[in-house]
Structure formats: C-alpha cells, structure tokens
C-alpha cells in the first residue's frame, strides 16, 4: 500500500503509538491516510494500536461498497491489520450507541495467535469512553486524524 523503509533510528526505541480515528470514511481521506500510517509503522516495531471513536467507528462498518462513488473500497485492509503486528483495536461503545450501531455491525478483524497454535482471535475490543480515556493517557504518541 505504501513504500516500506528501514528504520534509521535506534532500533531499541519502542514507544506506544495510538492512531486516533474520529472521521467517517470516504467523505474525507483521513481514514485511508491514517491506515497508511499504521501499515508503515509495522516496519518500525513500535507498539501501535488504533482507536475508533466518534464517526471513526463507521470506518469499521461491514459491507462497504464504493462502486457507486468511484472510490476505492479500502475497508478490507483493516482485516489485514493482524498481519501487520497490530494487536489492539479499540472501539468506543458510547460512539457506537449514539449512532445506533452494534458491535455486530462491524467487520470481524482477527489475528493469528502464535502462542496458541495460530488460533484466530478477535482484534477489536469494545471499550467504554472512560476506558478509552485511560488508554489514551497511557500512550507516548497520539496520531490524530
């Protein structure tokens, strides 16, 4: 999806990055270009997680079909995040509720757990607003989109 580059910094640095997604997909490009940041970050072996809140929860909606608007449907890429070493995707419950969305309306995103014989495990964790605030407070870097 984008050029991979070798990190040029001290490889022992490991920071917690949280990509904070708050916008609906397609109306603006932020969702897509945020995803490109996450894919690139895998090459740097950082502790990268993603948060979806406010209209950002629509990025994970099932069944996106963009044929009618002439834009590329990039939602399948979210399903590949497990392969990019992403292990934490947080979705805010209150944001879902306000929008009349249930967790079942979101795509299933899994990763293969090496420690348990590559068993498929869900990547999405539904968290409360208070929990998400706590998670944000534990990060080194917040990438805002």
């Amino acid at each position: 999806m984008a050029d991979v580059q070798a990190p040029r910094v001290d490889a022992s640095v490991k920071k917690r990055f949280l990509c904070v997604n708050r916008k609906a997909p397609y109306g603006t490009i932020y969702a897509l270009e945020a995803l490109e940041v996450v894919l690139i970050s895998a090459a740097f072996e950082q502790d990268v997680s993603l948060a979806f809140l406010d209209d950002g929860v629509f990025q994970l909606a099932k069944g996106q079909s963009t044929a009618g608007i002439g834009m590329k449907n990039f939602s399948p890429t979210y399903k590949a995040l497990g392969d990019y070493e992403v292990r934490k995707i947080y979705v805010e419950k209150e944001s879902l509720d306000e929008r009349g969305l249930a967790p079942a309306d979101l795509m299933e995103i899994t990763y293969e757990d090496e420690a348990e014989g590559f068993a498929e495990k869900p990547l999405i964790r539904i968290v409360s607003r208070a929990e998400l605030s706590e998670i944000m407070a534990q990060q080194d870097i917040l990438l805002n989109f």
Partner: protein
Amino acid sequence: MNEGPYTHQASDSAYQFVKAALERGHEIFRVFFYHDGVNNGTRLMVPPQDDRNLQQAWSQLAEKHQLDLVVCIAAAQRRGVLDAGEAKRHGKDADNIAPGFRISGLGQLIEAGMVADRLVVFGD
C-alpha cells in the same frame, strides 16, 4: 501538518508554534507534511502582496534553523507536489517542490515520533 496553506489556519498555527518553540530554545526534529499539508511545499504559490507567503515563510524558517521539512511522498503524489526526481520518474514535464522541503516516506513520521520528545498535530 495536515492541511494546505490559506484554506485552513493549520499551516499558520504550526508555523507560529514552531517559531515560538525555536525562540524558547527547543529543537525541532522534523516538520512532517501529510494529507493536504503537502501543498505547503509548492514553490508556485503567488499570494496577494499584502498577504503572507506560507511557502516562503516555511522555507526561510527552515534555512535559518536547519529545519527538516518532509513532505509525504504518497500524499504529495496524489495532490501533485513533485520534486525533479519524482517528476522524471512519473513522466511529468514540471516539478513544483519548494526550497527547503524534501519528499520522503511516511516512515519519517513514525521515526519522528520515536526520536522526538513531543509530537503535535495541526489540522482541520
């Protein structure tokens, strides 16, 4: 820096912030231009004479303080900001990158996050 010049204040705010940080004696490891922010890096802009020239402001600040102004290559290609090498590679007959800006990959943003003590995002 996530927004282009003039339409949103983000470029002005980031510029004022960087200038103030330098005046306070802080080091600016990098300014990364992403999304429409890449449009700050075109040397073709000609704002009215009574208005600020944001590209020149950034270029001059970069020259004075040896700032590393990085334009995201993927975002820049989408929006038509090219250096000579990129222009040649894509068969374009012109380029428009401004002095003091360089085009590089998104990894430079992650790297900046790893190296710098603080990362601040300006956008819409």
